[in-house]
Subunit: 245 residues, 2 copies
């Protein structure tokens, strides 16, 4: 486990960003990433609410896309209370943190915007879903409260002893490798006419991404799979060339 | 374990009360108690921030004193990050909740005001201290964030199986019995001139309260001890009467 990145996707209220930064500082966490914050950055309301955490105690980096924000992460969790119908493991905070601690790579935790939560495309990029045991009729957690629960769980787990040894042989690939692989695959599938009819492209690609991200691919496996995509694409080209028309 | 009471002692900002109520509703908790809220009650800012938890989902009761607010609680935790120099056990959230679940009585969790935290007199009334693993240089948790961490821990523990059986024979006495006992004892000690010099009364009484609250007295034990105080007081009176002057 290296220091965990907290990624707020399209956050709206500066106050929530500031409150999130404050509680990260409370628990000694310093890697806060913002994807397309509504009101830009820096944000005076965020600094005021941060009680001194911003701009110096917690480092903020701004990204345009979720893909960029998690590029260096090898394990990604998506926080959501809503069922998504995605084939991903769902963890509570304690188990999620145990998984974070089990991987020798940087983990990233995605938090959605105040009203809408995380878009499905962002959830599809995550290895697993982190969900809190909220009441069915009152499920909407404040953004900074969700950050607080994860930050506390990380430090609480850290206090309880050394992290468990990593069970796998190789570390998961940084997420940018996996994303590039999926984009490569999807591009070839586009060319092959796989995504048909066109309105089905998004859900079909999402299902694939869910499957890929669940597997904890290593860099070697990513590389191998990309080689396989290339080979298939070339082969299809060859086949088309050699096919009598 | 019956439903746990969350007690905010002298809270200042209505926004924090509302945010606390919201996250209690998120985790299905409904017993919020306010001791001498600065801006009175009801508080429109609290309702706005509660996202619908107030006034209907979470029940709010207002008290003048901490003693009144915890009168029906048999186990009381005081949340604080500062070392208090009090002889009380200190638990993290998970262990604190395990203790709450182990007692077949209502538990109360005390939260201090935004800046000052809990007064020592309130901490002295608690069985134990609940402390979060905050960074030494950035230890001040937002009030509603502290409430969120405890509320989540309670529900998380509830999800992990049935509570452990209560190990003792009898349940702890409701706190009002213990408080009355301590007040009775202190009154007799006042009459006996025990608290001398006068400026030492507060710390001496506090030390006693810490000792008493640590013991998990049952109602029977409280009753027995009060009988002992009475007997000693009567005996001292008798001794004084019979003593040649």
């Amino acid at each position: 486990m290296t220091s965990t990145a907290f990624i707020l996707v399209a956050p709206q209220m500066g106050e929530n960003i500031g409150a999130a930064a404050r509680v990260m500082a409370n628990f000694g966490l310093a890697d806060l990433r913002l994807v397309a914050p509504r009101d830009g950055w820096p944000n005076p309301a965020a600094e005021t609410m941060s009680a001194g955490a911003l701009p110096d105690v917690v480092a903020v980096t701004v990204f345009e896309t979720v893909e960029q924000a998690i590029a260096d992460c090898g394990f990604v969790l998506a926080t959501t209370a809503r069922p998504r119908g995605m084939e991903k493991p769902v963890y509570g905070a304690a188990e999620a943190v145990a998984r974070i601690r089990a991987v020798p790579v940087r983990a990233g935790v995605l938090f959605g915007a105040e009203r809408a939560g995380l878009p499905n495309e962002a959830v599809a990029l995550a290895d697993a879903i982190l969900s809190f045991p909220v009441a069915a009729g009152f499920a909407s957690l404040n953004l900074a409260q969700a950050v607080a629960l994860v930050a506390h769980a990380i430090v609480e787990a850290g206090d309880s002893g050394p992290p468990p040894a990593f069970e796998g042989v190789d570390a998961p690939a940084p997420r940018h490798e996996l994303i590039a692989m999926m984009e490569h695959f999807e591009a070839e599938l586009d060319r092959a006419g796989f995504f048909f009819p066109p309105e089905k492209r998004a859900p079909m690609a999402q299902n694939l991404r869910n499957a890929f991200t669940r597997a904890g691919w290593t860099s070697q496996e990513v590389s191998t799979f990309r080689g396989a995509i290339k080979a298939l694409a070339l082969g299809r080209g060859k086949a088309r060339v050699s096919r009598p028309e």
